[in-house]
Each structure stands twice: as structure tokens, then as C-alpha cells.
């Protein structure tokens, strides 16, 4: 175990996997000597050279399509799309090609590629550089979707994603890049996709959250703990496949659920999680309506105060939890 940032953890995961398996390589815009727009791949080109750390032209569609083509012929590409917003340029490659090849071809292909991208607001980058679009990918069978909320999860999940034989969309959180945490250094530390984690145990209310909102939720949960309210915080970590059991069991235990993410509320993945709960046996245990706390249904504005107002604040999370507790 060593303390490192979320960014370093991702860097280390790539480094280890590239050392382990010569078929793993990285491509993307400015991933080479620049180290990626957020510095995530710093040092990789020095260790692995230009053949395996490939600066590309600004061509998101073809980079992603080429990853699919390389994957289906035996490589294990990692593609970096600089901002999640620019996956809009790569949707055919990802959704119509990579995600569907295996099924369309009757199971006779596998597409082991990982698409990394940086999601979320909070950096003053405005409407075209700040979206949280994970719900889109979750809606596409054939894709797996991961949103790590801690450095440890980032490392373990990215390694699992790279080793997975399916296309995985790995959504990094810009505002977490510099967050620190203890991270196992063993090469074989893997967090399997589809396994959530109880980030804090509790008994009065379940809060399901992931990614950037997680530290916020945990902070509020600890404050409330001191006030005598016991909050259980569940982090699914992977959105597809979703660890439904861990969520359902927690809600059965607490009888109350608050769901928190940063993405726009309407059509977001919290709707799915809420539905999974109400469709399950947990429905009968629900003592209060489920509360979804999500981003406002607006593009991300530039002004810092407006930008902050778009995503759930600690106060709003606190209020949401108290509301579901009827306090």
C-alpha cells in the first residue's frame, strides 16, 4: 500500500498492465510526451516508447474505431478520449461497432478494449468540456461502464477493465485526479467489474453514489454519524454490470434510499438504480419515497458559482438524507 493520487493510480494501472502484457498499448491525443491533457499518462512514453504510447491526430471517431479493430485482431488497446464530451464523436465506433461485434457475429469475436475519458464539471471548462454522460453507455448492451471514486478503485478497476475481453468505458473524474488515497501496489490487485462496495456502513438510510459525488457523500455521512444518524454509503463502482444485490440488500436493511450523482437528473442512471430498487423485494421495505439528487437539467455554465450550483452540494445531500428520514 502506498499513498497516491487517483491520477497516479490510473497511471500505475496502465504501467503495470503494459509491462505484463505486450498486447496492451495506449493511444490518444497528446498521451505521449505531453502525458495527456490531465497528465494521466505522464512517463509512459519514456518507458514504453512511441509504438505503444501513440499520439494520434485529433480524430476521435477513427481512434475509437481503430481500437475496436485492433482489439478484434488480438491487441488490447486503451484509448484515451480527452474529455467525455468528445465521445460524441466516437459513438458509432463504440456503440455500433465495438459493443455489437461479438453479438452480431454470433459470439465469434471479442473486443478487449478500454476507452478512458475524463468526465464531470467543476473545472471551469463550461458546457462542452464538463458533461457526465455515463448513462448513455449504460444503455448499450455489450459495453461495460466503470466510474471509480477513489484511487484504490481506480487502480483495481482499470486493471480489470484492461484484462476484460469486452469494451469497457472507464470514466475518470476530473475533480478527483488529485485526490489521494492508499493504493495496493501488488501487480495482481484487481477489483472485479460488477462488484460494488459499502464505503461506509450504517443502518438508518442508504445512500448510493459513485464517482465525484462519493467524497461529498462520505463527508456528509460522517457528519450525520456524529449527529446520531447512521448512513450507509454504497458505491456500485461499475454501473454495468451493476451490483444490484449490494444495493438491494442495503435498502432492505435501512428502508430508505437516497441516490446521488453529478449527471443531469432527467434520463440519468439514477433512474435505473431507483427502478432496480422498486422492482426488487426492497420495495416492500421502503419507508419513504426514494430521493434522487442529481445535476440540474442544464448545460454546464462557466461562472464558478453557477457551475457549483449545478451539482448536488453537501448541504443538498444532507437535506436529501434528512428528507428521506422525515427529519
Amino acid at each position: 500500500m502506498r499513498e497516491m493520487t487517483y491520477k497516479e493510480a490510473i497511471n500505475l494501472a496502465m504501467r503495470e498492465e503494459m509491462r505484463r502484457d505486450p498486447d496492451v498499448f495506449l493511444m490518444g491525443e497528446d498521451v505521449g510526451i505531453y502525458g495527456g491533457a490531465f497528465g494521466v499518462s505522464v512517463g509512459l512514453i519514456e518507458e514504453f516508447g512511441e509504438e505503444r504510447v501513440r499520439d494520434t491526430p485529433i480524430s476521435e471517431a477513427i481512434i475509437t474505431g481503430a481500437a475496436a479493430g485492433a482489439a478484434v485482431t488480438g491487441m488490447r488497446p486503451i484509448v484515451e478520449i480527452m474529455f467525455m464530451d468528445f465521445t460524441t464523436l466516437a459513438m458509432d465506433a463504440l456503440v455500433n461497432q465495438a459493443a455489437k461485434m461479438r453479438y452480431m457475429f454470433g459470439g465469434k469475436a471479442k473486443v478487449p478494449m478500454t476507452l478512458r475519458c475524463a468526465g464531470g464539471s467543476g473545472t471551469g471548462a463550461a458546457a462542452q468540456h464538463s458533461q457526465s454522460l455515463e448513462a448513455w453507455f449504460c444503455h448499450i448492451p455489450g459495453l461495460k461502464v466503470v466510474v471509480p471514486g477513489t484511487p484504490k478503485d481506480a487502480k483495481g478497476l482499470l486493471k480489470a477493465a484492461i484484462r476484460d475481453d469486452n469494451p469497457v468505458v472507464f470514466v475518470e473524474q476530473k475533480t478527483l485526479y488529485k485526490e489521494k488515497g492508499m493504493v495496493p501496489e501488488e501487480d495482481d490487485f484487481i477489483i472485479p467489474l460488477g462488484v460494488g462496495e459499502i464505503k461506509k456502513e450504517g443502518k438508518d438510510v442508504t445512500v448510493v453514489s459513485y464517482g465525484r459525488m462519493l467524497p461529498r457523500v462520505l463527508k456528509v455521512a460522517e457528519e450525520l454519524e456524529r449527529e446520531g444518524i447512521s448512513v450507509e454509503v454504497v458505491d456500485p463502482r461499475t454501473l454495468v454490470p451493476l451490483d444490484k444485490e449490494i444495493i438491494i440488500n442495503s435498502v432492505i436493511k435501512t428502508g430508505r434510499a437516497v441516490l446521488v450523482n453529478e449527471a443531469c437528473k432527467t434520463g440519468g442512471y439514477l433512474g435505473e438504480i431507483a427502478s432496480v430498487i422498486v422492482e426488487s423485494e426492497a420495495f416492500d421495505y421502503l419507508d419513504a419515497p426514494i430521493v434522487r439528487l442529481a445535476g440540474l437539467d442544464v448545460p454546464i455554465p462557466y461562472n464558478p458559482e453557477l457551475e457549483k450550483a449545478v451539482v448536488p452540494s453537501e448541504e443538498q445531500i444532507r437535506a436529501g438524507i434528512l428528507k428521506v428520514l422525515n427529519r
Binding site: A61, I62, G69, T73, M75, M104, F105, G106
Partner: protein, 320 residues
């Protein structure tokens, strides 16, 4: 020209006749509502597709298109599995899940037909990247239409392949139309191949209805690409005889235009060449033709006798 062996010519003539017979059969099926979905036939384009494939090595790779029957037959394919796929059978290439637009056989390097115009560009580039990184000596043949040359993916693919010097042949089958729209309404230049200069790569124009020319030029081109010189753009001028897909009244072109092109039938041209050059005689060729037709009939019997996919299979193979 005479350097093409009899064996190759025989195989080429065979595959072209198989493709023709296959598609005539498909057309018959559709006309009678015996198949569901839609299909895009390449009758008239057999030389363009098949001779190009045959100029490559068996273990080279390819991406095919929505109009891909001749392309995959050119690559060498099991007709039984192909007809079975078209009929949605479990014994088909894709276990009945793909159909006409998604015939693939990844193991032998057929990376799949594609329902998305331009959808194969990225896959071809990626496959070529694999060959380069693994140093396999194999090359990739990327089929696409004139219409696809206006998709952004065309541009990004040719650019990326050219800067990375990837072993891929971008092979445009210019059949003069993208669905109903003639090329002069979708491009402001004479030849698709003229776009090669935008990527600093060679562009070639070939007569796609002349199997001998296609084969000979593609042999050279394949050699160049295999030599590590980077990609090329080839434009094969040809024409589709039938409508774009099953439901096409063809109001956008004249009967005369179609008739003119039918006179340039690629199969008849090859036949003539073979006979004139004394490679085979009419009887031998007739036999190949008959066998081709028979092979298709046999494949239809195989497919008809094949089971449908079990309903449970609907949820299988989404993930590896």
C-alpha cells in the same frame, strides 16, 4: 497478363459465378418474401470485389460492407454457412444473429460486413495497426463505396493510416451511386482516387469490371503495401445492376444506363478472356458455372435443413 495461372483463373471464375448465383437466389427469395430484412446485391460488381480479394494472401484481412456478398465470397467462404446466415439459421456464420449485413468470419480474417456506411474504416485501420505492431506481414483490404467516401470516417482513417504507415488498402467500389444519389451530386471531383493526394498516399483507378485488370493491379498494389510503404487508395469503377436494396424503384437512373453497363458484364468479360487466351474452353467454363449454381442450391438445402437458433440464444454472446 498471361502470368495469371489457370488455377487462379478457374477459382476466380468459380467465385464470380458463385456470387452471381448466390445473389440471384437471394433476389428470388426476397421477391417472394421468403427472407426478412433487406439486402444489397452486388450483381455487376463481382470482378471488382472478387479479383481484388484474390490478389491478396489467404491470411490477409478484410472489412466488408452492406453490399458485401461478392466481397466475402472473394475472400473464400463456406457457402453453406453463408446461405444459412442469410436465412437466419443457427448454422450460419453468425448463428442467425447477423444476416446479410453482418457476415463475418473473424478467424480467417473476414472482420465483417457492416451496416454502417463507413463503419469498416476504423476497424480496418485498427486491424492494420495490429499487423504492424505484431509484425505479421499481413495486410488489410478495406472495402467501401463511393458514398462512404463522404463520411468523416473516410478522412480520419486515411489520414491516420497514412501518418502511421499502416498496411491497408482502402478499396472504393465506385458504382456511381450512393443509394439514389449519383456521385456528381455528392462530390465535386471526378474520381474518388483523387482524394489520395490529401493524405500523401498513392491513388489508383482501375476498371472494376475487368477481373484481369483488377487482379493484376491489385497484386502490385498489395506488394507495395506489404512492403511497409503505408496505405493506398484504390478506386474500382463499376456499377450495380439491380436496385440499391430490396425496395428500390430506381427512378433515379435510366434503363439505358443500366443496359450499357450490363454489356460490360464482368463475368462475360472474364469468360471471353479465358477463352481467347486458351486457358479453358467453353465447356469447362460452363461446367464451372453449373457447379456454382449447384453449390448454391446445395447450400440452400443445407440452410433449409438447418435449425433456427434456440430462443434462449437471444441473450447469449452479448459479453465475452
Amino acid at each position: 497478363m498471361n502470368t495469371i495461372s489457370k488455377e487462379i483463373l478457374r477459382e476466380m471464375y468459380k467465385r464470380m459465378n458463385e456470387a452471381r448465383a448466390f445473389e440471384e437466389k437471394v433476389s428470388y427469395f426476397f421477391a417472394r418474401g421468403m427472407v426478412h430484412g433487406t439486402t444489397h446485391l452486388s450483381i455487376g460488381q463481382e470482378a471488382s470485389a472478387i479479383a481484388a480479394c484474390m490478389a491478396l494472401n489467404d491470411d490477409d484481412l478484410m472489412t466488408s460492407t452492406h453490399r458485401g456478398h461478392s466481397q466475402v465470397i472473394g475472400k473464400g467462404i463456406d457457402l453453406n454457412k453463408m446461405v444459412a446466415e442469410l436465412l437466419g439459421k443457427y448454422t450460419g456464420y453468425c448463428k442467425g444473429k447477423g444476416g446479410s449485413m453482418h457476415i463475418a468470419d473473424v478467424e480467417v480474417g473476414n472482420l465483417g460486413a457492416n451496416g454502417v456506411v463507413g463503419g469498416g474504416h476504423g476497424i480496418a485501420v485498427g486491424a492494420a495497426l495490429t499487423q504492424k505492431m505484431k509484425n505479421t506481414g499481413k495486410i488489410v483490404l478495406c472495402f467501401f463505396g463511393d458514398g462512404a467516401a463522404n463520411e468523416g470516417s473516410f478522412h480520419e482513417a486515411l489520414n491516420l493510416a497514412s501518418v502511421w504507415k499502416l498496411p491497408v488498402i482502402f478499396y472504393c467500389e465506385n458504382n456511381q451511386y450512393g443509394m439514389s444519389v449519383p456521385i456528381d451530386k455528392t462530390m465535386n471531383i471526378e474520381n474518388v482516387a483523387d482524394r489520395a493526394s490529401a493524405y500523401g498516399i498513392p491513388g489508383y483507378i482501375i476498371d472494376g469490371n475487368n477481373a484481369i485488370e483488377v487482379y493484376t493491379k491489385m497484386k502490385e498494389i498489395a506488394k507495395y503495401v506489404r512492403g511497409g510503404n503505408g496505405p493506398v487508395l484504390v478506386e474500382s469503377k463499376t456499377y450495380r445492376w439491380l436496385g440499391h436494396s430490396k425496395s428500390d424503384a430506381q427512378v433515379y437512373r435510366t434503363k439505358e444506363e443500366v443496359e450499357t453497363w450490363k454489356k460490360k458484364c464482368p463475368i462475360q468479360q472474364l469468360r471471353k478472356y479465358i477463352i481467347e487466351n486458351n486457358v479453358m474452353d467453353a465447356r469447362e467454363l460452363d461446367e464451372i458455372e453449373n457447379n456454382a449454381r449447384k453449390a448454391i442450391e446445395d447450400a440452400v438445402i443445407f440452410a433449409n435443413n438447418s435449425p433456427n437458433p434456440p430462443i434462449e440464444s437471444v441473450t447469449e454472446d452479448v459479453y465475452a
